[in-house]
Amino acid sequence: MAIEDMAFLIPVLPALAFVLTFFLGKKLPNGGAIIPIIAIFTSFVISLMITLNLLQNPEQVVSQSYNWFAILNVGVLIDPLAAVMLSMVSFVSLLIHIYAVGYMSHDKAQPRYFAETALFTAAMLGVVLSDNILQFFICWELVGLCSYLLIGFWFEKPSAASAAKKAFLTTRVGDVMFLAGIILLFADIFRIFNGSIPEGVYVLRFDEIFTHIPEIAALNTQIFGFEVSHLTIITLLFFGGAVGKSGQFPLHVWLPDAMEGPTTVSALIHAATMVTAGVYLVARTFPMFLAAPYSLLVVAYLGAFTALFAATMGLVMNDIKRVLAFSTISQLGYMMLGLGMGAVIGVTAVGDSLFHLINHAFFKALLFLCAGSVIHAVGTQDIRQMGGVRKVMPITFATMLIASLALAGFGIPGTSIGVSGFFSKDPIIEAAYLFGESTENWVPYLFSIVAALLTSIYIFRLIFMTFTGKPRTNYGGHESPSVMTVPLMILGVLALVFGALTKTGFGKFLEETFANNFVNMDIHALAEIGKYHLASHGAGSEPLLILWMPVIVAIAGLLISYLIYGMRIIDMSSIVSRKNPIYKLLYNRYYQNAIFTQFLAVKVIYEGLALAGRAIDRGFDWTVYLIGHIFTEASDGLRLLQTGVVQNYATSVVTGVSLLIILVKLILEVF
């Protein structure tokens, strides 16, 4: 049996593990954790074998389609893009599952936990290997459901239940846009086929969609007087879905609250599953974005803005997990920016962005697991109450430091020395520079550089506050058991060297995605449809200063943090106070909670529209009763005719009969 035939097992095994763990977990040790671990391990092995096979024979894309119902299909598509994602997701998820055996060991609801995380992984793997947009959407929604269940894992905590709802609802806003995009796309393809789709053609398969790009791009609609290509609308709607799932501004509000779940769940959401789905969606449909005027620019600007915006909030958070949450949003912004840079560097952008995605998965999972380890030991999430944890938890400290270096992106340009974040973030920033060069628009570059500085500051603030100095409260700490530290070390090694090892081959491998027998298209022709001017030369030939710039700001950030939080030389109390309006704005997260939850959700939608609707509905009810009332009132009047006196009745009978006779007589005479 060829390994390709087992591809469908990649999501199916964890899904089966969900069922088994859910029903049998109680009877097994550790809540049946062994079932999902074995299942995901098998998925990982299959994914890895397919990836290795693809590395040698890039043209052997796994592509299988089966009829589902009507004109829709289910299928498996594993090209280089999907392959690296599959391997990463299953691998990181596997490590997190192993870690969770230790982390969740005291929780009574372990079977439910492991069942749900298994389903979560299955859904994400399903997203990655979908060969059509509908299946993609279905798994995408399942990811949302699992995040809902897992964020609300401790459902008895009102804050957790509320955060879960918020996460699901906010991403659902994006999902609806995504769905609208699919509907529009379907309708357009339907139109292109003139309403009769031939037997055996699955119009929502990615290859089928991509072959119709020029035709869809040619369809235009007037919106506010502007001619807008349907492809732009569709891609922006897709991007709306990605904004929701990947926590881009303004739908990022759910991500920080998602910390209400167990830390391992946060790690899953932030590293392996869920948030990367949005980036993957844009990467998957990249040819469409490339052929859609303005779409990539929107992606780029929003990504750059989110990178900076989230980083500013990361500066002032005191909850260790919240800092990491904002860091995730910021890094996802970089990935989106990277994809948006397809406007100048074409399909290379997918490689750059995905490279950052993979590296980010490693170091962010590591950061969260370390944070979990610290929380597990210290018993608080507030970094102001920590300090000096290094002495109690040396392994955790070492691995977290590696992850922080990777996040900040330390390395030496032009060599192979550097942590993984360095090799993946730099190309994105350089592409932004190239973008500035060719369009005279320096906003994305500026944003990304400032965000890099802030990233370095906030992550080392976290390190210094947590691990160095003296303990600020009495916490009894201890290093975590090896079931927790071993995954940390594995991830630490990867965060350290993965970038350096794969930096040359990765981008090239991913470019194969859009140049194989499944999807074979001319990138330049697509860019022409999208009116993007690809740069003639690639990144890497910028002035030396530009190449060094990201490293310089990273070091600067480290120094600033060290001065403020490590040495405590600079007194921050004048700045860090509620009186400072900027601090207040940041600390309150730009009042987005007030705007979105209090105002939009509660005031406008609930109190405004829904309660108004109730008033209107009363109106309808009253109308119905009014009609009934008219009849009862009328009969109240009419019944007075029934006097009960026989002679009155007789009178009316006689009168009636007489009138009738006269009438008949008259009619007979007239005609």
Partner: protein, 496 residues
């Protein structure tokens, strides 16, 4: 066909209803009811497996003369439009009876007799091929439901039952006018009276006066819209659904005769209506507005059961909208929505009933943290809620996706309205879930017991069906597609 299987499916519930009426104890009543419903289930399964889903022709036809001078015949048949609905009724009723297995109801014999009578009447509507018979069954559904609400209902049961009865009865009478109009016009046309549904529908196009065609169409449409119910004729629904006992609410949910009428009667004559475009626009608009309006109203409710009732209005909007989509897959999506909605809402109302019985309240804000005490209920309810908010992998999504996608081709504006409602739909479901199941347990309810074995079993089976048909809709969707293709091809014949 040697066995008159359709007659059996219709008559068995009625026979057993009478039999159940004369039982003495609760035990006898429920066993008799269960036996009857299982028999019907077995017969309809047999029918389903012998059903040819590749043809849109009537199958298992039965014919006998009844009143020849008026052209009224005893004519039964089943096709892809009615089969899934018959199946839906046949499947849910046995589990409904199991669900109420241990309830302490007054007059159990009457209670179960009414359930069976409703089942017989509803299936009768689905399989009748003669307008007279159709109307008789149509009106017959009212009677048991009326008593169901007015005997076992909640505090405002009398008002609710009368409101429901009169409101829908007015709708039915207007529909009857439409039937008569069609009948006499066709009589005048052909010279012989005939009440056959297919005959009358095929004669519709030959009616000379455009105005009478319009009037007949509007009268029939009104009758069906009230029954569906579509905005703005929905106001009987919340009261009736809420005041009805749990079993009554489930029976209401299975009462899919309004939507059935759209497919059986309205769509075949739609292309021959002079003001067709206006009619399509009205149907699409009412559907879309129902979806959005129902969702907002559901969000505004404080009572869990009322919320579910309004969500029902919202979901039935997809049926009207999809029917107005006039693409074979949008029409099949609308049909599938009927099927799916029946399954999903059955569990939703069962869950409401369980919560009300256990805690004595349905006010969402008074509940909380029930998942800790009732984990089984929480799991099943979660699945039903997710299906209801249209989560992929469950039946609701298939229907909504088909309706929205394929209606968009002809009616883009209305679909945009409907899509907006999806977020609201998610909002009220999640809000209700959070307030009832999650959060801090309200200790005043004391030690609640989880749902009983019979309740778990019946809810779980329906839940599994929701999952099954959500992953593999073909078993019922294929026959719907076959029939909707025929319906839509009529449009092409009429040159639309």
């Amino acid at each position: 066909m040697a066995i008159p299987i359709l007659s059996l499916i219709v008559l068995i519930p009625f026979l057993f209803a009478v039999l159940t009426l004369f039982t003495k104890t609760k035990e006898q009543a429920r066993v008799s009811a269960l036996f009857s419903s299982v028999l019907v289930l077995a017969l309809s399964m047999f029918m389903y497996f012998n059903f040819d889903s590749t043809t849109s022709q009537m199958q298992f036809q039965e014919f006998a003369q009844w009143v020849p001078s008026l052209g009224i015949n005893y004519q039964l048949g089943i096709d892809g439009i009615s089969m899934p609905l018959v199946l839906l009724n046949a499947i849910v009723i046995p589990f409904l009876i199991l669900f109420t297995w241990n309830d302490d109801k007054k007059q159990p014999n009457r209670f179960y007799a009414l359930i069976l009578a409703t089942q017989g009447a509803v299936i009768g509507v689905f399989v009748a091929l003669d307008f007279f018979l159709f109307y008789v069954f149509w009106e017959l559904t009212l009677v048991p439901l009326f008593f169901m609400v007015s005997i076992w209902g909640g505090p405002a049961k009398h008002k609710a039952s009368i409101k429901f009865f009169i409101y829908t009865h007015v709708g039915s009478l207007v529909m009857l006018l439409g039937i008569f109009g069609l009948y006499f016009a066709a009589w005048g046309q052909t010279g012989t009276p005939n009440m056959g549904i297919e005959h009358l529908l095929s004669q519709f196009q030959f009616i000379a006066s455009g105005l009478s065609r319009d009037l007949i169409f509007v009268a029939l449409l009104f009758g069906f819209l009230v029954k569906i119910p579509a905005f703005p004729f929905h106001s009987w629904l919340p009261d009736a659904y809420v005041e009805a006992p749990t079993a009554g609410s489930v029976l209401f949910v299975l009462l899919k005769i309004g939507g059935y009428g759209l497919f059986r009667v309205m769509l075949p004559i739609l292309p021959f209506t002079p003001s067709m475009n206006l009619m399509i626009a009205i149907m699409a608009a009412l559907g879309a507005v129902s979806i959005l309006y129902g969702a907002f109203l559901a969000l505004a409710q404080k009572d869990l059961k009322r919320m579910v009732a309004y969500s029902s209005v919202s979901h039935m909007g997809y049926v009207t909208l999809g029917a107005a989509g006039l693409v074979s897959l949008s029409v099949s999506g609308a049909m599938f929505q009927q099927f799916s909605h029946g399954l999903i809402m059955s569990i939703m109302f069962m869950a409401c009933g369980v919560i009300n019985n256990a805690t004595g309240t349905r006010i969402i804000n008074e509940l909380g943290g029930l998942a800790r005490k009732m984990p089984k209920l929480a799991v099943i309810m979660m699945l039903a809620f997710m299906a209801s908010l249209g989560l992929p992998g469950l039946t609701g999504f298939i229907a909504e996706f088909l309706v929205l996608t394929f209606t968009y081709i002809n009616q883009p504006t209305y679909v945009v309205i409907a899509i907006l409602a999806i977020i609201i739909t998610a909002a009220y479901h999640l809000w209700a879930m959070q307030r009832t199941m999650f959060g801090v347990y309200n200790e005043k309810f004391g030690a609640l017991k989880d749902i009983s074995a019979s309740q778990t079993f019946s809810m779980a089976v329906i839940a599994i069906l929701i999952l099954y048909f959500g992953l593999n809709p073909s078993p019922v969707l294929d026959m719907m597609i076959t029939n909707s293709e025929k319906l839509v091809s009529l449009m092409a014949v009429a040159g639309v």
